[in-house]
Amino acid sequence: MTETPETATIKKISQETPSIRSFRLDFPMQAKPGQFAMLWLPGIDEKPFTLTAEGKECAVTVQEKGKFTKALFKLKEGDKIGIRGPYGNGFSTSRVKKACIVAGGCGAAPILLLAEELQKQGIKTAIINGARTEKECLFAERLRKTTHDLYITTDDGSLEEQGFVTAPLQRLLEKEKFDCVFGCGPEAMLKKVFELCEKYKVPCQLNLERYMRCATGICGSCVLGKWLVCKDGPVFNSKQLRETEEFGSKALLKCGKDVPIKEFAEWRQQ
């Protein structure tokens, strides 16, 4: 066992939206939907990214934001990158017969693998995918292939329904009975999804993010209350979330300072 980055070659870069690209890597990784890998750019940083393809080759889907992702976006097909993983627990689909997925923004990354997995298992799935605007709507075409029940919301109404993902979710919960609601996206959104699920007594599994260092459950950088997001998560179920005051409310900055989730989100936008 070693837990140091290995080198992988970028085989294909696809522009998914104006700010999001997928990077397909010549690197085998067996993973469940919701698991992630650590990508390393020597001299720059190492960061966690959800796997959006797995098997003989793997892929990640990344939104351009800060130092690391800007550097990543400069790379071309054929360039090399460091990678280690997979990490985390991923979504559990066992005993699920009918599912709903709610995804928002770039947090939608794990949605594709998850939707494909549910389709493969023949699980009936409704998908709600939210974005700021039509152009930033991730994976819409590919998701359509996995379900007949796709709902898209945009903040500005430029595509389909205007508003947040929570509106179609509430309508669905009102009339249908799901075995599980799977969620990924900004924590503020997930908090609302959780509250809806609690109200309608539907179990959920939500994919969360925290600042990470080791990714292997040792440094404690990624704590969410008593949980380690890298190891106990990044996917948490309703039971775990119920006992976790910090969900949707607090997070540690890189220095270890405990701040309100809003301050954390702002720090991430810097």
């Binding site: 070693t2 140091t4 290995e6 080791c214 292997t216």
Partner: protein, 305 residues
């Protein structure tokens, strides 16, 4: 029962202690490490004078024979740890508050702050090998180490004070003696060894963002064991021994070398948060099989002829 241990006056259910810098970033995870994981005591991530991010990633890696880390002593700054310290005080779990600083005065300042929350103990990290100007320089020299302990003892009230030493010191036993003379209540040994470095030859570059990092885990066990053995012969103080302890048999070896309590850090990587309970079970099994009635009976037996 056979594992109950008194360490510098503190009663512990068992002698396993969560090492500093592992998991200990908030109160909840520390409480979980004690309750669910089974640790007899837990140590917070060392807290420093001010807010500090530490190094860029990668900061912590496993390299087959141990871990290497250059986290760079990130810290929320001691004043931002008040909530956690209060919550831990309320929990009643034996907590070791770990402190690092840039000067003797700062050590006293932070230790004085920590003391208000009545931790079981204050650990003085004078041994971090990868952070410039902090920690280690204080642990390389008898006089300085003694001065730090003396300054902290003035403000620590009844809370026992435990300097944490580095294997880079050419004579770790003399440093321990100097700390004993300065009034230390226990000795912790060892912090990470090195520094070392990893290179990824395909990338042609060092892997850690900081290039150099401290080594922990299985690779350092023989050095840690030697340090504990030498310190035991030099001082009367109880010792928290650590460095590469992965299982009950390792823990027994440290106790035979003279440790009263045993720290577990990197093994959390190898075996998960339940490692403390597992180590304890293995210690009890070992004791049964080898007719050791108590830890007292085997403490320090590797000494003499």
């Amino acid at each position: 029962m056979p594992l109950e241990t008194v360490f510098a006056g503190i009663k512990l259910r068992n002698p396993t202690v969560l090492a500093s810098g592992i998991l200990g970033t908030n109160a909840e995870i520390l409480i979980r490490t004690a309750k669910e994981g089974g640790a007899g005591a837990v140590t917070m991530k060392s807290i420093g004078p001010c807010e500090k991010d530490g190094y860029a990633n990668p900061t912590i890696l496993e390299w087959e024979h141990g871990l290497i880390n250059a986290v760079g002593l990130p810290s929320p700054g001691y004043k931002n740890t008040e909530e956690e310290l209060k919550q831990l005080e309320k929990s009643g779990i034996p907590l070791i508050a770990s402190v690092y600083a840039h000067s003797i005065e700062e050590y006293a300042e932070i230790a004085g702050f920590a003391e208000k929350f009545k931790p079981a103990m204050i650990e003085l990290n004078m041994s971090c090998p990868h952070s410039k100007g902090e920690g280690m320089p204080f642990g390389l020299d008898e006089e300085t180490a003694g001065q730090v302990v003396k300054a902290v003892k003035k403000v620590s009230g009844k809370t026992p004070v435990m300097p944490k030493l580095t294997p880079q010191a050419l004579n770790i036993a003399s440093i321990a003696s100097a700390c004993e003379r300065a009034g230390a209540d226990a000795i912790c040994a060892i912090n990470t060894l090195g520094p070392g470095m990893l290179i990824n030859p395909e990338v042609r570059k060092p892997v850690l963002a900081n290039k150099f990092g401290g080594i922990s885990g299985p690779a350092i066990k023989p050095v840690a064991l030697r340090c504990v053995y030498q310190i035991y012969e030099a001082v009367k103080l109880p010792i928290l021994g650590m460095g590469g302890i992965s299982n009950g048999r390792d823990a027994i070896e440290f106790i035979q070398a003279g440790a009263t309590t045993v720290g577990v850090g990197s093994a959390v990587y190898y075996r998960g948060i339940g490692v403390f309970k597992e180590v304890c079970d293995e210690m009890v099994q070992w004791m049964k099989k080898n007719n050791a009635k108590s830890l007292e009976e085997i403490r320090g037996v590797a000494h003499g002829h």
